[in-house]
Symmetry: C2
Subunit: 203 residues, 2 copies
């Protein structure tokens, strides 16, 4: 299989790399040059009509796009250590946390990036007021997540899961684009320190 | 177990009801009065800190929020007919399609609803220009989906899946808020007709 990706700070390819590192799977990334728009080329869009990274192509040519779907597939091939849960309830609740992190935390980061960041202004039609409003939305989301982390080691409890990887990459990308994590959110700070201490965080 | 929901046109509770109808699962919905803000009450937020519907509470008190996660859990209890796929590749690709539908089709509908619809103007700070820009984004998404449906009966191929249910509810809700489906998108029209003809569409 062939995993197409892109280097940091692109948060989605990083999510897969952290997942691979946590699982101990050796699957090198084939870089696609986003600066040159290679992910929007006809050749690449023949693989993934949305021109998005990461994209996984299996040996028989079948394509899996979408970060979480790629990781979900790799989890089935390499069940241990489990990052999507063990029991039906675990799996549902980790799925819930992945979605909550994506909708609550990742979405405002993405909206700020697309609509209020100088780097994207040259490329996209920005709606700056809307983009700026996501700074507050991101702050509210982190406060909510801080409360949810009270008494827990990881987002779904005692074991790391895909939900933690989603939150880590969103928050690190947010920091990179200038959205600071309020240091007074102590549960979140301790969780982030635990995540950053893992070798996978260097992916 | 107890399933909290709300009547139409709320699209997320409807996604679960269509899923239940397709699976033949008898699980009555306990309605929560969104007009009275019951989903944001302290009692309800003790179950689901985000105050969102649907929410599933198991007999032992465990809570599963998020539409797709609830359906994923019910799929494990009632595997037939499968709506999340049978093989590892199926499951990954249906997950991919769920995510593509949510990000590409559902997001612009939601953004238009939150930021440019008169019903929400009284309740929320709207960014109207941004909201309006989602009309075009929704149109682009439908055109893309129309192309992807060429030669297929359902979004993932020959069998209905959760991705179709997600697309159906998003598109029907869009119509309800005034975002019309362009009739010239013939693959999409034929697919929608197939979906609307199923008894589950009345859920």
């Amino acid at each position: 299989m062939k995993l197409y990706g892109a280097p940091n700070p692109a948060p989605n390819p990083r999510r897969v790399r952290i997942f691979l590192a946590e699982k101990g799977i050796d699957l090198p990334e084939t870089p696609v040059n986003m600066m040159k728009g290679e992910h929007k080329s006809p050749d690449f869009k023949a693989l993934n009509s949305l021109g998005q990274l990461p994209t996984l192509v299996l040996d028989d040519g079948a394509v899996i796009a979408e970060t979480v779907s790629i990781c979900r597939y790799l989890e089935e091939l390499h069940p241990d250590p489990p990052l999507f849960g063990v029991t039906a309830l675990d799996r549902a609740q980790i799925d819930m946390w992945i979605r909550r992190v994506e909708f609550q935390v990742q979405n405002p980061v993405r909206n700020f990036w697309l609509h209020a960041h100088p780097r994207t202004a040259a490329l996209l039609t920005e709606y700056t007021d809307f983009g700026q409003s996501n700074v507050e939305a991101y702050g509210r989301a982190l406060k909510w997540l801080d409360g949810e982390l009270a008494g827990k080691t990881f987002i779904h409890g005692e074991a790391i899961s895909m939900a933690d990887i989603c939150a880590e990459t969103a928050i690190d990308f947010a920091t990179w684009i200038g959205l600071e994590r309020p240091p007074e959110l102590a549960n979140l700070a301790a969780w982030h320190e635990r995540m950053a201490a893992r070798p996978s965080s260097r992916a």
